[in-house]
Amino acid sequence: MLWKNTYNEFIKILAKPRSYIGLAALTLLICIILFAMKADGRMYISFVTASFEQTLSFNGNILNGNLIAFIVLQMLIVHIPLLVALVTGDLLSGEAAMGTLRMLLTKPISRSQVVLSKLIAAAVYTFILVIWMGFLALMVGRWVFGSGDLIVLNSDGLVILNDADVLWRYGLAFLVAYLALLTIATLSVAFSAFADNSIGPIVSTMAVIILFTIIGSLDVSVFDSVKPWLFTTHMASWRSFFNDPVPWSAIWESIWILLAHNILFVAIALIQFQRKDITS
């Protein structure tokens, strides 16, 4: 019954026009970035390498598909949470707002299974978003710009990764980015369990992301003990795969913290929905 309901929930997601906003926005944004890079990508590269190019020259195809994918990921990972929350924040509260929640619960399925089926459907939708982004950024990027070594700027300097050493990093980076976005999805579903309108959970999710991001970026010692526990701190941990050597312990720490947040948000959603007085 859980899987049948999950299938139904996914059909419901597909039936909503707003579900395609995310995919369309991603496609448009990535196409714009690809066009901009094709037109004036050298300028962007020189911004990164300017400090080094006074004394050194970089030869070879720097502006390649691997770099484009990295730029796209870096630019969009900040905005994709909104696209995820737009769909997942509506899953429970949308039903409450439309008055279909009571009817849904007349089915021979427990409340927990209703929540879990919606969470699984949300996870699948988020996965599709990440796969679509990966396909456009990496595959189309490599098709348009060709392949080549990846040049990455991090806080320690430049890391230049061999072309053959890049794809596995992208694979794992997309998985960790997916886990980060899944945290957004579960957070918004948890908020959704509290609300009876569509917009509230979406705005609340974005407010939490903005608040945590600001706390994380403030160089104030009073927040130092809190920062490592905020899920937003670990949302950019996908970038760590492009360090050499890969800081595995830091990545695993991020994965555990993101998983813990996911479990916490799922638990909140389950408990709240169990206790919820459904009057609509």
């Binding site: 911004f47 990164v48 400090s51 080094f52 190019e53 006074q54 004394t55 050194l56 020259s57 970089f58 030869n59 070879g60 195809n61 720097i62 870096q74 080549g148 070594d149 040049i151 990455v152 700027l153 991090n154 806080s155 320690d156 300097g157 430049l158 890391v159 230049i160 061999n162 072309d163 994380g216 970026s217 160089d219 950019a236 970038r239 760590s240 492009f242 360090n243 050499d244």
Partner: protein, 202 residues
Amino acid sequence: MKHLFFISILLTHFISRAQDANELVKAVRIKLEKVTDYSANVHIKAQVPMIKIDEVDAQVFYKQPNQMKVESKGIAILPKQGLGELNNFLTNEKAYTCALNGYKMLGDVKTAVVSVLPLTENSDVILVKLWIDPVKDLILQSQITSKSNGTLDVDYFYGDQAKYGLPYKMIFTIDVKKFKLPKSVAADLHMTSIKEVSKAVV
């Protein structure tokens, strides 16, 4: 009269040393000019502070008088100056003057240390120092000081192509300036990275 005689001897001494230096550089230049074009497979190993890069294979193409191109499948880091600039600079013998600074042992080889000074005011090069093997007419070490790129030291190692003045191995040591990374594109947004670094070796 004694003073005049002394000055005269001193001048003769300096003029002869300058002529020696010019002859040494001329011999090196003539050797290099024998090569009208070449292509070489090169293996580049760069040790640059704040840059992590694997060893890279590339191809270098040269055509007289001053066309030089580096082709690489991957990203290859090379010093901005130093691959062909020295040869270009030495080609125009009217653009510089030479002075012999003495002799120095480099390994087992007694080298003549020659300073090459540009005569044109707008030259980017301020001073070139060459350690020349006077027997084989080969540059074993050079130091180029320029306005735009600071000081570049190059060590030359010769093999089969020594008769053309072409080394099989070159080590570039560059003065790298203070690298400041743009914070907005760095991975860790909570860290500003300004690092003082001194030398890079390619």
